[in-house]
Symmetry: C2
Subunit: 318 residues, 2 copies
Amino acid sequence: MKKLIGVDLGGTTVKFAILTAEGEVQQKWSIKTDIKNEGKNIFPDIVKSINHRLEIYGLSADDFSGIGMGSPGSVNIDKGTVIGAYNLNWRTLQPVKEQIEAGTGISFYIDNDANVAALGEQWKGAGEGSGNVVFVTLGTGVGGGIIAEGNLVHGVCAAGEIGHINVDPTGYECTCGNVGCLETVASATGIVRIARDLSEEYAGDSKLKYLIDDGQEVTAKTVFDQAKTGDQLAEIVVDKFYFYLGLACSNIANVLHPETIVIGGGVSAAGEMLISGVEKYFKKYAFPQIKTSTKLRLAQLGNDAGVIGAASLVNISR
Amino acid sequence: MKKLIGVDLGGTTVKFAILTAEGEVQQKWSIKTDIKNEGKNIFPDIVKSINHRLEIYGLSADDFSGIGMGSPGSVNIDKGTVIGAYNLNWRTLQPVKEQIEAGTGISFYIDNDANVAALGEQWKGAGEGSGNVVFVTLGTGVGGGIIAEGNLVHGVCAAGEIGHINVDPTGYECTCGNVGCLETVASATGIVRIARDLSEEYAGDSKLKYLIDDGQEVTAKTVFDQAKTGDQLAEIVVDKFYFYLGLACSNIANVLHPETIVIGGGVSAAGEMLISGVEKYFKKYAFPQIKTSTKLRLAQLGNDAGVIGAASLVNISR
Protein backbone atom coordinates (compact mmCIF):
# COMPACT_ATOMS: atom_id res chain seq x y z
CA MET A 1 0.00 0.00 0.00
CA LYS A 2 1.25 3.45 -0.88
CA LYS A 3 1.74 6.06 1.85
CA LEU A 4 0.11 9.43 2.46
CA ILE A 5 1.48 12.89 3.22
CA GLY A 6 -0.57 15.24 5.40
CA VAL A 7 0.15 18.98 5.53
CA ASP A 8 -1.40 21.38 8.05
CA LEU A 9 -0.79 24.92 6.84
CA GLY A 10 -1.07 27.52 9.59
CA GLY A 11 -0.11 31.15 10.09
CA THR A 12 2.97 30.38 12.19
CA THR A 13 4.02 26.82 11.26
CA VAL A 14 3.46 24.29 8.52
CA LYS A 15 3.14 20.80 10.00
CA PHE A 16 3.88 17.70 7.94
CA ALA A 17 3.43 13.97 8.44
CA ILE A 18 4.04 10.80 6.49
CA LEU A 19 1.36 8.20 7.23
CA THR A 20 0.46 4.70 6.15
CA ALA A 21 -2.73 4.32 4.09
CA GLU A 22 -4.40 3.25 7.34
CA GLY A 23 -3.51 6.54 9.03
CA GLU A 24 -0.57 5.53 11.21
CA VAL A 25 1.82 8.47 11.57
CA GLN A 26 5.35 7.34 10.65
CA GLN A 27 7.18 10.66 10.48
CA LYS A 28 6.34 14.17 11.67
CA TRP A 29 8.11 17.47 11.15
CA SER A 30 7.35 21.16 10.79
CA ILE A 31 8.73 24.38 9.31
CA LYS A 32 8.05 28.05 10.01
CA THR A 33 5.47 29.69 7.77
CA ASP A 34 7.18 32.52 5.89
CA ILE A 35 4.40 35.04 5.32
CA LYS A 36 6.71 37.78 4.02
CA ASN A 37 6.20 39.10 0.44
CA GLU A 38 2.52 38.16 0.36
CA GLY A 39 3.37 34.60 1.35
CA LYS A 40 5.26 33.97 -1.91
CA ASN A 41 7.74 31.61 -0.26
CA ILE A 42 5.11 29.29 1.19
CA PHE A 43 4.81 27.01 -1.88
CA PRO A 44 8.55 26.70 -2.55
CA ASP A 45 9.21 26.08 1.16
CA ILE A 46 6.61 23.30 1.33
CA VAL A 47 7.85 21.65 -1.87
CA LYS A 48 11.48 21.87 -0.75
CA SER A 49 10.68 20.45 2.69
CA ILE A 50 8.72 17.49 1.30
CA ASN A 51 11.35 16.64 -1.32
CA HIS A 52 14.14 16.97 1.24
CA ARG A 53 12.39 14.61 3.69
CA LEU A 54 11.66 12.01 1.00
CA GLU A 55 15.36 12.04 0.17
CA ILE A 56 16.31 11.57 3.83
CA TYR A 57 13.92 8.64 4.20
CA GLY A 58 14.90 7.08 0.87
CA LEU A 59 11.38 7.51 -0.55
CA SER A 60 10.19 8.77 -3.94
CA ALA A 61 6.96 10.25 -5.33
CA ASP A 62 5.94 6.73 -6.42
CA ASP A 63 5.73 5.62 -2.79
CA PHE A 64 2.80 8.00 -2.19
CA SER A 65 -0.81 7.95 -3.30
CA GLY A 66 -1.11 11.65 -2.58
CA ILE A 67 -0.60 14.75 -0.47
CA GLY A 68 -3.54 16.23 1.47
CA MET A 69 -3.53 19.71 2.95
CA GLY A 70 -5.66 21.72 5.34
CA SER A 71 -5.53 25.47 4.71
CA PRO A 72 -6.98 28.62 6.22
CA GLY A 73 -8.94 30.95 3.95
CA SER A 74 -11.57 30.12 1.38
CA VAL A 75 -10.68 26.84 -0.34
CA ASN A 76 -11.91 25.68 -3.74
CA ILE A 77 -11.55 21.94 -3.31
CA ASP A 78 -12.20 21.09 -6.97
CA LYS A 79 -9.71 23.54 -8.41
CA GLY A 80 -7.26 23.21 -5.51
CA THR A 81 -7.02 26.96 -4.95
CA VAL A 82 -7.13 29.23 -1.89
CA ILE A 83 -8.14 32.87 -1.59
CA GLY A 84 -8.40 35.28 1.34
CA ALA A 85 -6.09 33.48 3.76
CA TYR A 86 -5.18 36.68 5.57
CA ASN A 87 -2.98 35.10 8.24
CA LEU A 88 -0.75 33.84 5.38
CA ASN A 89 -0.86 37.21 3.59
CA TRP A 90 -2.52 35.36 0.69
CA ARG A 91 -4.93 37.97 -0.60
CA THR A 92 -5.10 36.87 -4.23
CA LEU A 93 -6.03 33.47 -5.67
CA GLN A 94 -3.32 30.89 -4.95
CA PRO A 95 -2.92 27.89 -7.29
CA VAL A 96 -1.91 25.55 -4.47
CA LYS A 97 -2.62 22.22 -6.19
CA GLU A 98 -0.86 23.21 -9.42
CA GLN A 99 2.28 24.41 -7.64
CA ILE A 100 2.64 21.54 -5.18
CA GLU A 101 1.94 18.86 -7.80
CA ALA A 102 4.47 20.47 -10.16
CA GLY A 103 7.08 20.65 -7.40
CA THR A 104 6.64 17.16 -5.95
CA GLY A 105 5.13 15.02 -8.71
CA ILE A 106 2.53 13.75 -6.21
CA SER A 107 -1.27 14.14 -6.53
CA PHE A 108 -2.61 16.87 -4.26
CA TYR A 109 -5.91 17.36 -2.38
CA ILE A 110 -6.99 20.27 -0.20
CA ASP A 111 -9.78 21.37 2.12
CA ASN A 112 -10.18 24.02 4.80
CA ASP A 113 -8.45 23.57 8.15
CA ALA A 114 -11.62 23.04 10.25
CA ASN A 115 -12.92 20.35 7.86
CA VAL A 116 -9.56 18.63 7.84
CA ALA A 117 -9.37 18.60 11.65
CA ALA A 118 -12.90 17.14 11.70
CA LEU A 119 -11.77 14.36 9.35
CA GLY A 120 -8.75 13.66 11.55
CA GLU A 121 -10.84 13.28 14.69
CA GLN A 122 -13.42 11.22 12.80
CA TRP A 123 -10.85 8.87 11.30
CA LYS A 124 -8.36 8.33 14.10
CA GLY A 125 -9.60 10.31 17.11
CA ALA A 126 -12.73 10.67 19.22
CA GLY A 127 -15.02 9.91 16.27
CA GLU A 128 -13.77 6.31 16.15
CA GLY A 129 -14.34 5.97 12.41
CA SER A 130 -18.11 6.54 12.59
CA GLY A 131 -19.78 7.90 9.46
CA ASN A 132 -21.68 10.59 11.38
CA VAL A 133 -19.46 12.92 13.39
CA VAL A 134 -19.64 16.64 14.14
CA PHE A 135 -16.46 18.45 15.17
CA VAL A 136 -16.64 21.72 17.09
CA THR A 137 -13.45 23.65 17.70
CA LEU A 138 -13.40 26.32 20.40
CA GLY A 139 -10.46 28.67 19.99
CA THR A 140 -10.10 32.37 19.24
CA GLY A 141 -13.20 31.73 17.14
CA VAL A 142 -15.58 28.79 16.94
CA GLY A 143 -15.47 26.56 13.88
CA GLY A 144 -16.32 23.06 12.89
CA GLY A 145 -16.77 20.33 10.36
CA ILE A 146 -19.60 17.93 9.58
CA ILE A 147 -19.31 14.32 8.48
CA ALA A 148 -22.68 12.80 7.53
CA GLU A 149 -23.22 9.33 6.07
CA GLY A 150 -19.46 9.02 5.67
CA ASN A 151 -19.02 12.24 3.68
CA LEU A 152 -17.52 15.55 4.65
CA VAL A 153 -20.37 18.03 4.14
CA HIS A 154 -19.54 21.17 2.16
CA GLY A 155 -23.06 22.04 1.01
CA VAL A 156 -22.82 24.91 -1.44
CA CYS A 157 -19.36 25.59 0.03
CA ALA A 158 -19.49 26.92 3.61
CA ALA A 159 -21.13 24.12 5.63
CA GLY A 160 -19.88 23.81 9.21
CA GLU A 161 -20.21 27.46 10.24
CA ILE A 162 -20.98 26.21 13.72
CA GLY A 163 -19.63 29.38 15.31
CA HIS A 164 -22.45 31.30 13.66
CA ILE A 165 -25.33 29.19 14.90
CA ASN A 166 -27.58 31.67 16.66
CA VAL A 167 -27.91 30.94 20.37
CA ASP A 168 -29.32 34.29 21.52
CA PRO A 169 -31.31 36.48 19.15
CA THR A 170 -30.84 39.39 21.55
CA GLY A 171 -27.19 38.65 22.21
CA TYR A 172 -23.82 40.21 21.43
CA GLU A 173 -22.82 41.55 18.03
CA CYS A 174 -20.60 39.17 16.09
CA THR A 175 -17.72 39.97 13.72
CA CYS A 176 -19.85 38.43 10.93
CA GLY A 177 -22.37 41.26 11.27
CA ASN A 178 -25.10 39.18 12.91
CA VAL A 179 -26.13 39.12 16.56
CA GLY A 180 -26.01 36.27 19.09
CA CYS A 181 -23.73 33.85 17.23
CA LEU A 182 -22.28 30.96 19.26
CA GLU A 183 -18.81 32.38 18.65
CA THR A 184 -19.66 35.54 20.63
CA VAL A 185 -20.12 33.49 23.81
CA ALA A 186 -18.28 30.17 23.35
CA SER A 187 -14.91 31.21 21.92
CA ALA A 188 -12.01 31.99 24.24
CA THR A 189 -12.76 35.69 23.90
CA GLY A 190 -16.51 35.05 24.23
CA ILE A 191 -16.07 33.40 27.62
CA VAL A 192 -14.03 36.36 28.84
CA ARG A 193 -16.73 38.69 27.49
CA ILE A 194 -19.37 36.87 29.56
CA ALA A 195 -17.08 37.03 32.60
CA ARG A 196 -16.55 40.79 32.28
CA ASP A 197 -20.26 41.47 31.80
CA LEU A 198 -21.43 39.28 34.68
CA SER A 199 -18.64 40.58 36.89
CA GLU A 200 -20.06 44.10 36.68
CA GLU A 201 -23.36 42.95 38.15
CA TYR A 202 -21.87 40.51 40.62
CA ALA A 203 -21.91 41.71 44.24
CA GLY A 204 -20.47 38.70 46.07
CA ASP A 205 -16.93 37.72 46.93
CA SER A 206 -15.02 36.40 43.92
CA LYS A 207 -11.38 35.98 42.96
CA LEU A 208 -12.40 36.21 39.30
CA LYS A 209 -14.11 39.54 39.92
CA TYR A 210 -11.05 40.75 41.80
CA LEU A 211 -8.75 39.81 38.90
CA ILE A 212 -11.01 41.59 36.40
CA ASP A 213 -11.43 44.70 38.54
CA ASP A 214 -7.69 44.74 39.24
CA GLY A 215 -6.99 44.86 35.48
CA GLN A 216 -5.08 41.57 35.47
CA GLU A 217 -5.04 39.40 32.38
CA VAL A 218 -8.11 37.17 32.39
CA THR A 219 -8.39 34.37 29.83
CA ALA A 220 -10.85 31.52 29.31
CA LYS A 221 -8.38 29.37 31.24
CA THR A 222 -8.53 31.80 34.19
CA VAL A 223 -12.31 31.47 34.23
CA PHE A 224 -12.25 27.65 34.14
CA ASP A 225 -9.48 27.49 36.76
CA GLN A 226 -11.47 29.72 39.10
CA ALA A 227 -14.62 27.68 38.49
CA LYS A 228 -12.67 24.56 39.50
CA THR A 229 -11.78 26.19 42.81
CA GLY A 230 -15.46 26.94 43.49
CA ASP A 231 -15.46 30.67 42.67
CA GLN A 232 -19.18 31.41 42.38
CA LEU A 233 -18.96 34.09 39.70
CA ALA A 234 -16.73 31.81 37.61
CA GLU A 235 -19.23 29.00 38.08
CA ILE A 236 -22.04 31.22 36.81
CA VAL A 237 -19.92 32.23 33.79
CA VAL A 238 -19.01 28.68 32.78
CA ASP A 239 -22.59 27.56 33.31
CA LYS A 240 -23.74 30.22 30.85
CA PHE A 241 -21.10 28.98 28.38
CA TYR A 242 -22.31 25.39 28.91
CA PHE A 243 -25.88 26.49 28.24
CA TYR A 244 -25.02 28.15 24.93
CA LEU A 245 -22.79 25.32 23.71
CA GLY A 246 -25.24 22.65 24.90
CA LEU A 247 -28.09 24.41 23.10
CA ALA A 248 -26.08 24.63 19.85
CA CYS A 249 -24.97 20.99 20.10
CA SER A 250 -28.53 19.80 20.72
CA ASN A 251 -29.78 21.69 17.68
CA ILE A 252 -27.02 20.23 15.50
CA ALA A 253 -27.88 16.76 16.82
CA ASN A 254 -31.63 17.25 16.25
CA VAL A 255 -30.81 17.83 12.58
CA LEU A 256 -28.05 15.26 12.02
CA HIS A 257 -28.23 12.69 14.84
CA PRO A 258 -24.47 12.06 14.81
CA GLU A 259 -22.83 9.23 16.73
CA THR A 260 -20.46 11.72 18.31
CA ILE A 261 -19.99 15.46 18.71
CA VAL A 262 -16.27 16.01 19.22
CA ILE A 263 -15.24 19.18 21.05
CA GLY A 264 -11.70 20.44 20.48
CA GLY A 265 -9.66 23.63 20.27
CA GLY A 266 -7.86 25.53 23.02
CA VAL A 267 -10.92 26.02 25.24
CA SER A 268 -11.47 22.25 25.37
CA ALA A 269 -8.35 22.05 27.56
CA ALA A 270 -10.88 22.58 30.38
CA GLY A 271 -11.37 18.82 29.99
CA GLU A 272 -14.09 16.44 31.15
CA MET A 273 -15.59 19.19 33.33
CA LEU A 274 -16.54 20.95 30.09
CA ILE A 275 -18.12 17.82 28.59
CA SER A 276 -20.29 17.14 31.62
CA GLY A 277 -21.30 20.81 31.85
CA VAL A 278 -22.34 20.96 28.20
CA GLU A 279 -24.05 17.57 28.47
CA LYS A 280 -26.43 18.92 31.12
CA TYR A 281 -27.94 21.36 28.61
CA PHE A 282 -27.53 19.02 25.65
CA LYS A 283 -29.76 16.51 27.40
CA LYS A 284 -32.26 19.26 28.15
CA TYR A 285 -32.69 20.36 24.54
CA ALA A 286 -31.95 17.31 22.37
CA PHE A 287 -34.79 15.08 21.16
CA PRO A 288 -35.30 12.12 23.57
CA GLN A 289 -34.13 9.41 21.11
CA ILE A 290 -31.10 11.55 20.23
CA LYS A 291 -29.97 12.64 23.71
CA THR A 292 -29.56 9.01 24.72
CA SER A 293 -27.51 8.00 21.67
CA THR A 294 -25.36 10.96 20.55
CA LYS A 295 -22.15 11.17 22.59
CA LEU A 296 -20.23 14.35 23.44
CA ARG A 297 -16.49 13.72 23.61
CA LEU A 298 -13.24 15.67 23.90
CA ALA A 299 -11.00 15.73 20.84
CA GLN A 300 -8.13 13.25 21.16
CA LEU A 301 -5.56 14.13 18.52
CA GLY A 302 -4.58 17.67 19.58
CA ASN A 303 -2.26 19.23 17.02
CA ASP A 304 -2.07 16.02 14.99
CA ALA A 305 -5.73 16.23 13.89
CA GLY A 306 -4.73 18.54 11.04
CA VAL A 307 -2.03 16.40 9.41
CA ILE A 308 -3.98 13.15 9.93
CA GLY A 309 -7.22 14.59 8.54
CA ALA A 310 -5.36 16.24 5.67
CA ALA A 311 -3.80 12.90 4.74
CA SER A 312 -7.24 11.28 4.78
CA LEU A 313 -8.34 13.65 1.99
CA VAL A 314 -6.20 11.53 -0.31
CA ASN A 315 -8.14 8.37 0.56
CA ILE A 316 -11.61 9.90 0.32
CA SER A 317 -10.98 12.01 -2.77
CA ARG A 318 -9.44 9.38 -5.04
CA MET B 1 -34.75 0.97 -18.49
CA LYS B 2 -36.88 -0.77 -15.90
CA LYS B 3 -39.66 1.13 -14.13
CA LEU B 4 -40.18 2.02 -10.45
CA ILE B 5 -43.13 1.70 -8.10
CA GLY B 6 -43.58 4.29 -5.34
CA VAL B 7 -45.87 3.67 -2.36
CA ASP B 8 -46.87 6.33 0.17
CA LEU B 9 -48.40 4.58 3.17
CA GLY B 10 -50.60 6.87 5.27
CA GLY B 11 -53.20 6.48 7.99
CA THR B 12 -56.17 7.07 5.67
CA THR B 13 -54.95 6.16 2.15
CA VAL B 14 -52.16 4.26 0.48
CA LYS B 15 -50.98 6.11 -2.63
CA PHE B 16 -49.24 4.30 -5.47
CA ALA B 17 -47.44 5.36 -8.63
CA ILE B 18 -45.62 3.70 -11.50
CA LEU B 19 -42.70 5.84 -12.65
CA THR B 20 -39.94 5.68 -15.22
CA ALA B 21 -36.39 5.31 -13.91
CA GLU B 22 -36.06 9.07 -14.48
CA GLY B 23 -38.99 9.81 -12.14
CA GLU B 24 -41.77 10.55 -14.62
CA VAL B 25 -45.10 9.47 -13.12
CA GLN B 26 -46.93 7.21 -15.62
CA GLN B 27 -49.77 5.87 -13.49
CA LYS B 28 -51.21 6.92 -10.13
CA TRP B 29 -53.84 5.29 -7.95
CA SER B 30 -54.75 4.90 -4.29
CA ILE B 31 -56.64 2.62 -1.91
CA LYS B 32 -58.07 3.14 1.57
CA THR B 33 -55.83 2.10 4.45
CA ASP B 34 -57.61 -0.65 6.39
CA ILE B 35 -56.36 -0.19 9.94
CA LYS B 36 -58.82 -2.70 11.46
CA ASN B 37 -57.44 -5.79 13.25
CA GLU B 38 -54.14 -4.12 14.11
CA GLY B 39 -53.62 -3.24 10.44
CA LYS B 40 -53.33 -6.90 9.43
CA ASN B 41 -54.90 -6.28 6.01
CA ILE B 42 -52.46 -3.55 4.99
CA PHE B 43 -49.83 -5.87 3.48
CA PRO B 44 -52.28 -8.12 1.58
CA ASP B 45 -54.16 -5.04 0.30
CA ILE B 46 -50.96 -3.41 -0.99
CA VAL B 47 -49.76 -6.63 -2.65
CA LYS B 48 -53.17 -7.26 -4.22
CA SER B 49 -53.42 -3.71 -5.50
CA ILE B 50 -49.95 -3.74 -7.09
CA ASN B 51 -50.43 -7.14 -8.72
CA HIS B 52 -53.87 -6.14 -9.97
CA ARG B 53 -52.55 -2.96 -11.55
CA LEU B 54 -49.63 -4.70 -13.20
CA GLU B 55 -52.12 -7.10 -14.76
CA ILE B 56 -54.27 -4.23 -16.03
CA TYR B 57 -51.27 -2.50 -17.58
CA GLY B 58 -49.85 -5.72 -19.02
CA LEU B 59 -46.71 -5.45 -16.89
CA SER B 60 -44.83 -8.07 -14.86
CA ALA B 61 -42.40 -8.05 -11.95
CA ASP B 62 -39.54 -8.16 -14.47
CA ASP B 63 -40.48 -4.73 -15.77
CA PHE B 64 -39.54 -3.14 -12.42
CA SER B 65 -36.23 -2.51 -10.71
CA GLY B 66 -37.99 -2.16 -7.37
CA ILE B 67 -40.73 -0.86 -5.10
CA GLY B 68 -39.98 2.01 -2.69
CA MET B 69 -42.22 2.92 0.23
CA GLY B 70 -42.54 5.78 2.70
CA SER B 71 -44.05 4.73 6.02
CA PRO B 72 -45.02 6.38 9.30
CA GLY B 73 -43.55 4.97 12.51
CA SER B 74 -40.00 3.95 13.25
CA VAL B 75 -38.46 2.40 10.14
CA ASN B 76 -35.46 0.06 10.07
CA ILE B 77 -34.24 0.70 6.54
CA ASP B 78 -31.74 -2.17 6.50
CA LYS B 79 -34.13 -4.84 7.72
CA GLY B 80 -37.16 -3.32 5.98
CA THR B 81 -39.28 -3.35 9.13
CA VAL B 82 -41.58 -0.83 10.83
CA ILE B 83 -42.58 -0.52 14.48
CA GLY B 84 -44.79 1.92 16.39
CA ALA B 85 -46.83 3.26 13.47
CA TYR B 86 -49.78 4.10 15.69
CA ASN B 87 -51.96 5.67 13.00
CA LEU B 88 -51.84 2.29 11.19
CA ASN B 89 -52.49 0.36 14.43
CA TRP B 90 -49.09 -1.26 13.87
CA ARG B 91 -47.83 -1.63 17.41
CA THR B 92 -45.59 -4.66 16.94
CA LEU B 93 -42.70 -5.14 14.51
CA GLN B 94 -43.94 -5.41 10.93
CA PRO B 95 -41.84 -7.35 8.36
CA VAL B 96 -42.82 -5.03 5.49
CA LYS B 97 -40.01 -5.87 3.08
CA GLU B 98 -40.39 -9.62 3.54
CA GLN B 99 -44.15 -9.57 2.97
CA ILE B 100 -44.20 -7.23 -0.01
CA GLU B 101 -41.30 -8.96 -1.77
CA ALA B 102 -42.94 -12.35 -1.21
CA GLY B 103 -46.26 -11.09 -2.56
CA THR B 104 -44.98 -9.21 -5.62
CA GLY B 105 -41.62 -10.75 -6.51
CA ILE B 106 -40.16 -7.23 -6.75
CA SER B 107 -37.25 -5.88 -4.65
CA PHE B 108 -38.44 -3.57 -1.88
CA TYR B 109 -36.94 -0.48 -0.18
CA ILE B 110 -38.40 1.60 2.65
CA ASP B 111 -37.76 4.78 4.63
CA ASN B 112 -39.84 7.06 6.85
CA ASP B 113 -42.44 9.33 5.29
CA ALA B 114 -40.68 12.64 6.00
CA ASN B 115 -37.41 11.40 4.47
CA VAL B 116 -39.22 10.08 1.43
CA ALA B 117 -41.06 13.39 0.89
CA ALA B 118 -37.70 15.15 1.18
CA LEU B 119 -36.27 12.88 -1.52
CA GLY B 120 -39.27 13.56 -3.75
CA GLU B 121 -38.88 17.34 -3.51
CA GLN B 122 -35.13 17.04 -3.95
CA TRP B 123 -35.38 14.83 -7.04
CA LYS B 124 -38.30 16.25 -8.95
CA GLY B 125 -39.59 19.27 -6.98
CA ALA B 126 -38.26 22.49 -5.50
CA GLY B 127 -34.83 20.98 -4.80
CA GLU B 128 -34.11 20.70 -8.53
CA GLY B 129 -31.88 17.67 -8.17
CA SER B 130 -29.30 19.45 -5.99
CA GLY B 131 -27.21 17.27 -3.69
CA ASN B 132 -27.80 19.52 -0.67
CA VAL B 133 -31.45 20.07 0.18
CA VAL B 134 -33.31 20.39 3.49
CA PHE B 135 -37.05 19.69 3.55
CA VAL B 136 -39.22 21.11 6.32
CA THR B 137 -42.84 20.02 6.53
CA LEU B 138 -45.26 22.10 8.57
CA GLY B 139 -48.42 20.17 9.38
CA THR B 140 -50.02 18.94 12.60
CA GLY B 141 -46.41 18.51 13.66
CA VAL B 142 -43.15 19.73 12.13
CA GLY B 143 -40.87 17.22 10.45
CA GLY B 144 -38.20 17.08 7.84
CA GLY B 145 -35.51 15.35 5.90
CA ILE B 146 -31.90 16.18 5.13
CA ILE B 147 -30.02 15.47 1.91
CA ALA B 148 -26.31 16.30 2.19
CA GLU B 149 -23.69 15.64 -0.49
CA GLY B 150 -26.30 13.63 -2.40
CA ASN B 151 -27.18 11.31 0.49
CA LEU B 152 -30.27 11.14 2.65
CA VAL B 153 -28.93 11.68 6.18
CA HIS B 154 -30.09 9.20 8.82
CA GLY B 155 -27.24 9.65 11.29
CA VAL B 156 -27.61 7.07 14.04
CA CYS B 157 -31.26 6.75 12.92
CA ALA B 158 -33.33 9.84 13.76
CA ALA B 159 -31.72 12.68 11.76
CA GLY B 160 -34.15 15.33 10.53
CA GLU B 161 -35.97 15.99 13.80
CA ILE B 162 -36.36 19.57 12.64
CA GLY B 163 -39.54 20.02 14.66
CA HIS B 164 -37.47 19.61 17.80
CA ILE B 165 -34.85 22.24 17.09
CA ASN B 166 -34.99 24.54 20.09
CA VAL B 167 -36.06 28.05 19.16
CA ASP B 168 -36.97 29.34 22.63
CA PRO B 169 -35.33 27.88 25.74
CA THR B 170 -38.08 29.49 27.84
CA GLY B 171 -40.89 28.52 25.47
CA TYR B 172 -43.84 26.14 25.45
CA GLU B 173 -43.70 22.53 26.58
CA CYS B 174 -43.50 20.08 23.69
CA THR B 175 -45.04 16.61 23.40
CA CYS B 176 -41.47 15.24 23.29
CA GLY B 177 -40.93 16.37 26.90
CA ASN B 178 -38.59 19.26 26.08
CA VAL B 179 -39.39 22.98 26.07
CA GLY B 180 -39.34 25.48 23.20
CA CYS B 181 -39.20 23.07 20.25
CA LEU B 182 -39.94 24.55 16.80
CA GLU B 183 -43.00 22.30 16.58
CA THR B 184 -44.64 24.10 19.53
CA VAL B 185 -44.78 27.35 17.55
CA ALA B 186 -44.51 26.49 13.83
CA SER B 187 -46.96 23.59 13.42
CA ALA B 188 -50.60 24.27 12.54
CA THR B 189 -51.51 23.90 16.22
CA GLY B 190 -48.47 25.93 17.27
CA ILE B 191 -49.58 28.93 15.22
CA VAL B 192 -53.02 28.77 16.81
CA ARG B 193 -51.37 28.53 20.22
CA ILE B 194 -49.43 31.75 19.56
CA ALA B 195 -52.63 33.41 18.32
CA ARG B 196 -54.57 32.47 21.45
CA ASP B 197 -51.78 33.64 23.77
CA LEU B 198 -51.18 36.96 22.03
CA SER B 199 -54.92 37.53 21.68
CA GLU B 200 -55.29 37.59 25.46
CA GLU B 201 -52.86 40.49 25.76
CA TYR B 202 -54.05 42.30 22.64
CA ALA B 203 -56.14 45.38 23.32
CA GLY B 204 -56.75 46.70 19.78
CA ASP B 205 -59.44 45.99 17.25
CA SER B 206 -59.00 42.61 15.56
CA LYS B 207 -61.20 40.17 13.68
CA LEU B 208 -58.88 37.35 14.75
CA LYS B 209 -59.31 38.32 18.40
CA TYR B 210 -63.08 38.46 17.88
CA LEU B 211 -63.15 34.97 16.37
CA ILE B 212 -61.08 33.57 19.23
CA ASP B 213 -63.10 35.32 21.96
CA ASP B 214 -66.33 34.26 20.24
CA GLY B 215 -65.27 30.61 20.46
CA GLN B 216 -65.28 30.09 16.70
CA GLU B 217 -62.93 27.57 15.10
CA VAL B 218 -59.58 29.19 14.48
CA THR B 219 -56.96 27.34 12.42
CA ALA B 220 -53.55 28.29 11.05
CA LYS B 221 -55.37 29.14 7.81
CA THR B 222 -57.64 31.57 9.69
CA VAL B 223 -54.57 33.33 11.08
CA PHE B 224 -52.87 33.64 7.68
CA ASP B 225 -56.11 34.74 6.01
CA GLN B 226 -56.59 37.48 8.59
CA ALA B 227 -52.96 38.57 8.26
CA LYS B 228 -53.53 38.92 4.50
CA THR B 229 -56.44 41.30 5.16
CA GLY B 230 -54.21 43.45 7.41
CA ASP B 231 -55.52 42.32 10.80
CA GLN B 232 -52.85 43.64 13.15
CA LEU B 233 -53.02 40.87 15.74
CA ALA B 234 -52.80 38.27 12.96
CA GLU B 235 -49.80 40.10 11.52
CA ILE B 236 -48.05 39.99 14.91
CA VAL B 237 -48.81 36.27 15.20
CA VAL B 238 -47.47 35.34 11.75
CA ASP B 239 -44.43 37.54 12.32
CA LYS B 240 -43.64 35.57 15.45
CA PHE B 241 -44.03 32.35 13.46
CA TYR B 242 -41.72 33.74 10.74
CA PHE B 243 -39.16 34.63 13.41
CA TYR B 244 -39.08 31.12 14.86
CA LEU B 245 -39.02 29.34 11.50
CA GLY B 246 -36.45 31.79 10.09
CA LEU B 247 -34.22 31.26 13.13
CA ALA B 248 -34.44 27.46 12.80
CA CYS B 249 -33.77 27.59 9.04
CA SER B 250 -30.76 29.86 9.51
CA ASN B 251 -29.29 27.51 12.09
CA ILE B 252 -29.80 24.50 9.81
CA ALA B 253 -28.17 26.44 6.97
CA ASN B 254 -25.23 27.56 9.14
CA VAL B 255 -24.49 23.87 9.72
CA LEU B 256 -25.23 22.41 6.26
CA HIS B 257 -25.20 25.29 3.74
CA PRO B 258 -27.83 23.66 1.51
CA GLU B 259 -28.68 24.95 -1.97
CA THR B 260 -32.33 25.01 -0.99
CA ILE B 261 -34.54 24.74 2.08
CA VAL B 262 -37.90 23.47 0.83
CA ILE B 263 -40.94 24.28 2.98
CA GLY B 264 -43.98 22.06 2.58
CA GLY B 265 -46.91 20.61 4.52
CA GLY B 266 -50.38 22.04 5.09
CA VAL B 267 -49.21 25.33 6.64
CA SER B 268 -47.15 26.11 3.51
CA ALA B 269 -50.46 26.69 1.69
CA ALA B 270 -49.99 30.26 2.98
CA GLY B 271 -47.75 30.55 -0.11
CA GLU B 272 -45.08 33.05 -1.12
CA MET B 273 -46.11 35.35 1.74
CA LEU B 274 -44.73 32.70 4.10
CA ILE B 275 -41.45 32.41 2.20
CA SER B 276 -40.80 36.16 2.22
CA GLY B 277 -41.77 36.40 5.90
CA VAL B 278 -39.40 33.60 6.91
CA GLU B 279 -36.68 34.99 4.65
CA LYS B 280 -36.62 38.26 6.61
CA TYR B 281 -35.42 36.43 9.73
CA PHE B 282 -33.37 33.88 7.80
CA LYS B 283 -31.29 36.71 6.38
CA LYS B 284 -30.93 38.19 9.86
CA TYR B 285 -29.47 35.05 11.43
CA ALA B 286 -27.74 33.12 8.63
CA PHE B 287 -24.00 33.57 8.05
CA PRO B 288 -23.34 36.25 5.37
CA GLN B 289 -21.97 33.86 2.73
CA ILE B 290 -24.87 31.49 3.39
CA LYS B 291 -27.77 33.94 3.45
CA THR B 292 -26.92 35.06 -0.07
CA SER B 293 -26.71 31.55 -1.54
CA THR B 294 -29.19 29.27 0.26
CA LYS B 295 -32.68 29.64 -1.22
CA LEU B 296 -35.96 29.18 0.66
CA ARG B 297 -38.65 27.72 -1.61
CA LEU B 298 -42.16 26.31 -1.36
CA ALA B 299 -42.58 22.59 -1.96
CA GLN B 300 -43.84 21.87 -5.48
CA LEU B 301 -45.05 18.29 -5.57
CA GLY B 302 -47.86 18.41 -2.99
CA ASN B 303 -49.23 14.92 -2.36
CA ASP B 304 -47.02 13.41 -5.07
CA ALA B 305 -43.79 14.03 -3.11
CA GLY B 306 -44.36 10.79 -1.18
CA VAL B 307 -44.75 8.39 -4.13
CA ILE B 308 -42.00 10.06 -6.17
CA GLY B 309 -39.54 10.11 -3.28
CA ALA B 310 -40.45 6.54 -2.33
CA ALA B 311 -39.73 5.40 -5.89
CA SER B 312 -36.35 7.16 -5.77
CA LEU B 313 -35.34 4.90 -2.86
CA VAL B 314 -35.01 2.13 -5.44
CA ASN B 315 -32.48 4.13 -7.47
CA ILE B 316 -30.39 5.29 -4.52
CA SER B 317 -30.45 2.02 -2.57
CA ARG B 318 -29.45 -0.38 -5.35
